[in-house]
Structures are given as structure tokens and as C-alpha cells.
Symmetry: none
Subunit: 562 residues, 2 copies
């Protein structure tokens, strides 16, 4: 390393390393129709942490009350390796940075890293915020210097960079110089409108790299949007021109047409262009992470997505399939396992068996590949998946299913029938958009349920403020006398997905229910699934599985009533 | 024009023209889960013809019985400007082209253009089809020569071109030379696996252009797949390197991760790179065409798609919105009207007053900023959103809400009460994971419902295979006598989101329902929302809003029962 490399650049990793910066929780959450609770954000942050993303932008504390709570609440379950980043604008015109009220909640969020964004485009300065070009430079410099004085590390996002540079390159570069001199550790070139094409991204990034000596050798990042359908290619072009940070989102979520999809950027950089982003085992978590995030967000997993989609390595047609099996690399651009995905042979599937055996082994069940029951499990599994079951996110139901096939599922209770009745106590006036106060909701569902436990039969009734709550209560009322443990299993999450939405209310429904049970400081969590054309029936399946699974782990043998 | 340009190149249009080649009907139809009837294909062909696509690949007659019928049937309603293209492989090894049975149905399809594809990759020749490199060259040359002898114009698709060129550029180029010398009018470089990145596409296309004198100056085309998430960028890179035909599909449909999306390629080429693809009025049909094709295919229109998506020019956030209204081009990369799309102001919890007024204006309602009712609407909206309503995706409910605030919402019907009863006819055995056969589901929900319409009161009952289906039917049964139009409003999609899932089944539920109504060739769609702790109640709200909104647009005044 030569002596001309300044200290700041030394702090950044090796030259072929690209630093990943995820903004799913902030820019991704801008996607139309996407709405994240604080709990959702915390779960996504942990998924990203486990994937190995080093920088996770959590939100803009202060601009959104939820974001303040997110940063606060995450401290109870801290991230293992990732740095959390708070996001905000530079100070407003005509204020001292120390007096900027916007900054109080940012600093209070208590992150080591802060990303602040400023204006690069002279027109946005003079016409948009109505101040002088000099004041804008001061706003950038002051804000960064202020955060530095509070011992924070600062990333500077240069908004509308590419448009700005094409109109007035001199002024645009001055804004970067201001940021670099004030102590920013990264200068991130943002294509905020998403209108720039790869050749211009490459050219302009190279022009910035050529000014590195004026920018204190501060490393460059890239932040792209997909309005031209080239967000991923733009990120790659910038890296090839010298950028060493990529900002993007999981599954490409984001405002308008989305942000650069990290699920595509990462494998392209690492497997094709030879840059280092994640370790090999981390990269193998990519597909699971992409799908888990989509589940938390409650959007369908991206079926046709590159690299991580269910269809990404799906092969149809006999000749093609045998050619793939002979020499996969002539028909697949990467090995699907490198990103944790798998080849799917759409006609006759043999690929799944080893996956299943590996999964079953995690339940402590050893099963031989040649055992006919293994093929039987695979075949039933395909039928269930075809019907709409999905076990990726519902391993508890999968374990019960496998144990059922193997005759290792002792029956704890048997449903004889149930009835659920929903009635409107308070007529709901069409046009009266008055939301009821939380807590004032009248009881409006009643469930009756008959189960057999051993030789005993119990008929119970319960009410709730919805049909599923009533059914849950009625089932527990019936079981508690035999299995007191059921009262400890809490319902932690309940998700509904309509399969094949195009057939309207006649479509099948998939319900996922997450349960939690605390034993001392440890919280066990498990998720179950139910599928039916009737949402109540699907919910019952998932409820019953959840209680049964909890009992399986608590009491290895069923209790027989006297 | 210089005299060195050969006759064939003269037949192609001006140098800055890019010829569009659509393969939605063949390569697009390979998408997993997509299935097209002959009627569907004919409708799509006409949409593409009206858009102005000059070359439409219709299928592989003979390989698929439907495709024979498609070419035959389309003759009854011929295309206005487009050329239909039949697709097939080159002849098989060891046969004369004239004796190749595959070619009979191709020629019988009666198109002026034929696209034939051949192997570029030496390994695919020797290992895949087990013949010699020389025989493969003969297969390419003979097949093209045979079609030329039958007065057909021939496009040659070089399969796996980029992988082939990277392994054995000499042989790969020999295959192109064989095709050019045999009379192909276009040589199309195909990235069949979709694994090539833009810089390699650019480099390799430029290398082919440099061999133009060996290729009889035959013009070059590009065919890309999206496995690396760079299909569009790859097509652009090839054009910038000299290619003058782009093959792709509408909405990027295609096997695995799809083909190059023509809806993105076209505006990028024409509006940003200065190439000519379509006339300006044709380009303005792009959004309608993209949506019409998705309707025919019965897939949801691509909401977040660049250029043509519903969200492509959607703006959130107060400051941003007022800036867009001041100077759109600083926040939009093109004018949405250039591709027939439009700007949308999205209502969300970040909305300020200017968003709301802009949105309300699109309903034809003028509201002054200073009118106290405007502030009242904003304040109620915040309450509703805090409660869990979300209007971004439910503009129909938002319009009803605004009209309600303004006393412009005539009451069409009033709910007095409803009851829904779900019962298990067939006891569901825990542990019996036997999915029911579609269609064999027993009726298991009954809804009764009482509404007032004008002075009349109706009590109805209906059954369905789920509580929401039963409730929907009961409501329509009650209304149809007064408003026959309700039977035309179809339920197109039903989405459920549990808000704040962490409180389990007691949490609030948000239901979104999409309705569709056809009037001639135009399909109107609208979406409504309901929120309640009880999923049935939330569904009722969205159902009732949906019918009311449909009636509002159909019948401006309510009908009063006698």
C-alpha cells in the first residue's frame, strides 16, 4: 500500500470488497402498498443481520414516530454483526447545525453511523429550497461536522447526483468536496429519479473517481432506482468504475419502480465480477432471507426474481432437463446452491429428496434415501404444495406432517366438529367511516367445538372479537383440563395470504400462525400452516397444529383421559 | 450512403432505427404458470399490431398443436401492419433440409418471415446433439437456404451466443458466417441462459460488428433473458454497440426470470438514446398495451414496472408533491404521458394538504386549500390511517370517504345487520393432511343479511365455500332487484393483511378487494378497503364499498324503492 493512501481510505476494507448497505427499512418501505410495523422492521433487521449485511439503514427517526420506536426497541435484541444506520437530511437553511431540531432524535437513536443526504443540483437549491449555492455547501459541511463532533461516523448521500452532474458538474463536485472535507467516510452517488442509464452511470462515476484527490480519497458508493429497469446494471456499472459501496433493498422494494435489488446485485458482484460482499455460507442464505423478508412484509415471494425466485432455476421439457442434468453449467448461469436456491425440474422432480432428508434430520429423524417412505413423503409433499401448502415458513407443521407419515405422531386430540357464528351486534352503517375505539369492540363471534381426548369428549363454547379468536379460545377451553400447558402457548403472529387471487373470494386461503412459549429467559417460537377455501377452516388447521406441536415439545407422550 | 453498403443492409431501415421483435407469444408463453389459449394469442397479436411492433413471433407450428391453429386462425383477422413470424430449429443432423419433417408445418403456416435457431457453442454440438462441428454449420446453412428457396425471409437466432463466444469465438463466428452466407437477413445474438452482464454484451457485440465484412454486413440483433436482472441493460448495451434489432416480450414475460421487457427497452431506446422504434402516438399506447396484454393473460398488471406500472410515476410525501407540481422533470425521468402513463399523487400517512387536494381534483372535485372541510378531511384521514385504513391501494374507498365528508355520497343501501355461520360438515381430523380435491369442498358457510334500500327492507340468505363468499352473495341477492348492475361487478382479487400481527388473532385485519367490470373491450378496476378486529366485518366493509363505488360510476343517482 502506498503512502499516498490517507487514513480514511485505510479504514475501508480491501480494494475488491464492496460494502453492502441495505435500505429496505427506509427506502424499501416507501413502496406503494407496503406498510411495516415496528415488529416487522425488527424482524427484517435481524434477517439482514444474519445474512451478513454490514450496514442496515433503519429509518429516519423523528420524521416518523414508528422509527423512533424502532431504534429504541431494537436495543433490547441487538444485532450481532451489522451496524444500524439512522437517516436524515442535512440541516435546514439559516440555522446552526447544533440548533437543528431535526438532529435531536437522530442523535438520540444512538447509532454509530448516520447517513445524511444533501442537494447536489443547483436548481434544487435555488428554486427548490430557495437558498444560495454557498449556503447549501455550508449545510452539508456543518451537518456532517456536527455529527462527527458527536463521535458519529457519517455517510453522505448525494441526492439527484447524476442529473445534477449532467447539468452543472462543477457545482455538483463542490458539494462532494464539502462533504469529504467535513469528514464523511463515504460519498454515495444517488440516481434519485432512476432515469440514468448504465453508460452514463459508468462515465460519471469514473469522472468522480478521477477527482479522488480533491475528495480526500473518500470512497464512493452508489444508490440506484429502477425507473429505467436498469437499477442493478447501474449499480454494477458504478462498481466497475470504482464505487465500493452499493445501497439497495431486499427484493428491490422501493418507491415507484423500486430500488436496486440487493438479491441480484450481490451474486452478480461476487460470483461473476469477483468482488467480495459476503462469505460463501452467508451468500447461501440469500434465497431464504429474500423469502423470509417477503413473508414478514406479507407480499408474495418474488417467483420470477433472478437468483432467489422459485422459478429462477426451473427447467421444463425432457431434452432440456437431461442436458441440465448432464452438464448444468451449460444451461444455468450459476449453481443455484451458491445463493441457497435449488434447481427445479418442473416435470419429474428428483432434486427435492436430499433437501427433505437433510431437513428431516434436523428433527432428529434419520431416514435413508432408499427407504420407500422417503419417496412417499416427497410425493405427498408435492401434492400438498400443489394444493397451496407452503412449509418454508411453517416448519412445525412440516415436522408434524413428516411424523405423521412415519407413524411417529401420537394423537393428542381429535376434532369432531366446530361451528363459528359471526353476528353484528352494532349495525355497521355503510358510509359511516367511524373507526371504533380499540377495546370498545363488542363481542361478535361465538365458536362451539367438540373434541375427543383419549376416551373423553368435550363440547365447549367461547366468544371473541373475531372468528379465529373465538375458535382459538374454544379449542383451549376443551384441552386445558388434559393439557394445562396449552395456556402457555401464545399466538405471536397471524398471517393470511389468498392464493390465486384472480378467482376472488372463492380462492384458497393460506394461514400462517406463529406461536411463542417462554421458558425462563428463552422464548421458543414455531409456525404452522393451514390451507382451505374457507379461511376459518384454514385457521383451525394452523391453530390445532400449533397447540399439538407445542405439546409434542413439552410432553413427548399424549395424556389419556380416564 | 456509400456504395460499400450491400443490398441486404439497404433493405433495413435507417441507421438509427431499431427493429422491434416481440416474442411474447412464444418465449413469453414459456413463463411458469402462464397458459395461453389460441384466442388469447390472437388478441395479444392484435394488441401488438396496434402498438406498432413490426415483427411478431407467433410460435413454433408443429411443436405445439395450438400454434398451428393460431397461424391458421389469424388469417381470418389479419394484422394491419405487423409481419407474423414462425419459429423453428434448424434441420436435424444427417437429413436434407428438403426432407426435414419439422419444416412442413413451418412453411404451411404461410408467414413471409421465419426465424430459425441454431447452435453456436461447440460443446452443445458435439456433446448435446452429438454431431460434428462441420455438420452443424451445414445444418444452419441448409435450413436457411431452404427457407430462402421457398421465398421466405429468414432471421437467424444464434442460441447461447455469448457463452459460446467466450469459450470458442472462432467457431461461434463460423456459425454466423454460415447463416449470413446462406441468406439470413438478421443475425440475432441470444443470451439464452441470461447470465451475461452488460459489459460483456457490449464487448462481444462490438467484436461481432468488427467482423461485419465477413458477415455480408448483415445487421445484428439481440435477444436477452433476465437471469442476472440485466436483460434490459444488456439489450441497450448491444444496441449501443451496433445491434439494430431487439427481441423481447411484453411485461418481460418468459421462462425462469423472463425475457427483456420491451415496455422498458422501447422508451429507453427512443426517449433517452435517440433511436427510432415507434411513432410518438404509438409510443403513447405502450401503457395501455402492457396492461391489456396482462389482462388477456390474466395476470395482475405489473404495478411497479418501469414506465408502464401503476406506481411508475406515483408520488408520496407533501414537500415532494409540491415540488413535482412546480417542475415535474426534476422528479420524473420522463413525462409519463410520453408512454401513455400518468402521474399519480398517492395518499398516505405522510400526506399533506396539497396531496389531498391534488388527489381529490382527480375525482372532479375542486376544493380550496382554505376551505375548513379540507383540513377536516385531512384530520379524519389521519385518524383512519392510525386505525389501520390504508388508501394508497384503495382509491375507490378514498373517493367514497371524501364524498361522504362533502355530502356528495348518496346512500344507495343501508346495512341493518348480518350473520355469518361457518360449520364443519366434514369433521377435519387433526393430523389428516389430505388436501381436498378442488370442487369437492362442501358448502360450509351461510350468511344472512338485512338491508334497507330506499323505503324497502330485504332479508336474504346465501351460502358459499367460505364466509366472505357467502356474505358477498347475500349482499348481491339483496341489491340485484334495485340495482341489476351489481351482477356485473366481478371480484378480481382479495387481499388480507393482519395489522400488528404480534397481538395474534385479536389483532385488527385490513382487507383489500379489487373489483372489475367490463364495458366492451375496456375493463374498469377499482379497489376498496375495510378494517376491523373481525375479518368478516372488514370484508363486509370492502365488499359494500366496492358495490357502492361501482354503482356510483354506473348510476350517478341512487334508486329509491317504491
Amino acid at each position: 500500500m502506498t503512502s499516498s493512501v490517507p487514513a480514511q481510505a485505510l479504514a475501508t476494507p480491501a480494494l475488491n470488497t464492496v460494502t453492502l448497505y441495505d435500505t429496505t427499512l427506509r427506502d424499501g418501505a416507501q413502496q406503494e402498498g407496503l406498510s411495516l410495523s415496528v415488529e416487522d422492521k425488527i424482524r427484517i433487521a435481524h434477517h439482514l443481520d444474519q445474512l451478513g449485511i454490514p450496514l442496515i439503514e433503519g429509518g429516519w427517526p423523528g420524521a416518523n414516530p414508528k422509527d423512533v420506536q424502532f431504534f429504541w426497541q431494537l436495543k433490547e435484541t441487538p444485532l450481532e454483526q451489522a451496524e444500524l444506520v439512522a437517516f436524515c437530511s442535512t440541516r435546514r437553511p439559516g440555522r446552526a447545525a447544533a440548533d437543528e431540531p431535526l438532529f435531536a432524535p437522530i442523535l438520540a437513536a444512538g447509532t454509530r453511523y448516520i447517513t445524511t443526504f444533501g442537494k447536489s443540483w443547483d436548481l434544487h437549491v435555488t428554486e427548490g429550497i430557495g437558498t444560495t449555492l454557498a449556503e447549501n455547501l455550508a449545510m452539508i459541511a456543518d451537518s456532517i461536522a456536527h455529527f462527527r463532533s458527536q463521535q458519529r461516523r457519517v455517510i453522505y448521500d448525494a441526492e439527484h447526483w447524476f442529473d445534477a452532474y449532467q447539468r452543472n458538474p462543477e457545482y455538483a463536485l463542490e458539494t462532494l468536496v464539502a462533504a469529504a472535507q467535513a469528514g464523511a467516510e463515504w460519498l454515495v452517488l444517488c440516481d434519485t429519479n432512476g432515469g440514468t442509464l448504465p453508460h452514463d452511470v459508468a462515465r460519471i462515476t469514473a469522472a468522480v473517481m478521477a477527482e479522488a484527490h480533491h475528495l480526500n480519497q473518500v470512497p464512493i458508493g452508489i444508490h440506484t432506482h429502477n425507473d429505467s429497469d436498469t437499477a442493478v446494471a447501474n449499480a454494477l456499472a458504478a462498481v466497475q468504475a470504482g464505487a465500493r459501496m452499493v445501497q439497495g433493498t431486499m427484493n428491490g422494494y422501493g418507491e415507484r419502480c423500486g430500488n436496486a435489488n440487493l438479491c441480484s446485485v450481490i451474486p452478480n458482484l461476487q460470483l461473476k465480477l469477483g468482488y467480495h460482499c459476503l462469505s460463501e455460507p452467508q451468500l447461501q442464505r440469500l434465497t431464504d432471507t429474500a423469502r423470509a423478508v417477503s413473508e414478514v412484509i406479507n407480499l408474495a415471494p418474488p417467483e420470477h426474481a433472478p437468483f432467489v425466485g422459485l422459478s429462477a432455476f426451473a427447467h421444463k421439457g425432457g431434452v432440456h432437463v437431461s442436458a441440465v442434468q448432464k452438464n448444468p453449467l451449460t444451461y444455468e448461469h450459476i449453481e443455484p446452491e451458491q445463493v441457497g436456491n435449488s434447481r427445479r425440474i418442473v416435470v419429474s422432480d428428483q432434486a427435492g429428496l436430499s433437501n427433505i432428508l437433510a431437513k428431516v434430520a434436523t428433527f432428529g429423524i434419520q431416514l435413508d434415501k432408499k427407504d420407500p417412505i422417503a419417496r412417499e413423503i416427497l410425493s405427498q409433499l408435492k401434492d400438498l404444495e400443489h394444493w397451496g401448502y407452503q412449509f418454508e415458513a411453517a416448519e412445525a407443521s412440516f415436522e408434524l406432517f413428516v411424523r405423521g407419515c412415519l407413524n411417529q405422531r401420537p394423537q393428542r386430540f381429535e376434532l369432531l366438529n366446530f361451528n363459528v357464528h359471526c353476528l353484528t351486534d352494532q349495525p355497521s352503517h355503510v358510509g359511516a367511516w367511524q373507526p371504533q375505539e380499540a377495546g370498545s369492540v363488542a363481542v361478535n363471534a361465538i365458536a362451539t367445538l367438540k373434541v375427543a381426548v383419549g376416551g373423553a369428549i368435550r363440547l365447549t363454547v367461547a366468544e371473541g372479537n373475531g372468528p379465529v379468536a373465538a375458535l382459538d379460545r374454544a379449542l383451549r377451553n376443551a384441552l386445558v383440563e388434559f393439557y394445562p400447558a396449552v395456556e402457555q402457548f401464545q399466538l405471536a403472529d397471524y398471517k393470511v395470504r389468498i392464493l390465486d387471487g384472480a378467482s376472488g373470494t372463492g380462492a384458497r386461503t393460506r394461514v400462517l400462525i406463529e406461536f411463542a412459549s417462554s421458558q425462563g429467559p428463552t422464548v421458543h417460537r414455531w409456525t404452522t400452516v393451514g390451507v382451505s377455501a374457507n379461511i376459518i377452516e384454514a385457521s383451525y388447521q394452523a391453530l390445532a397444529d400449533g397447540l399439538e406441536y407445542g405439546l409434542l415439545k413439552t410432553l413427548p407422550q399424549p395424556i389419556h383421559a380416564s
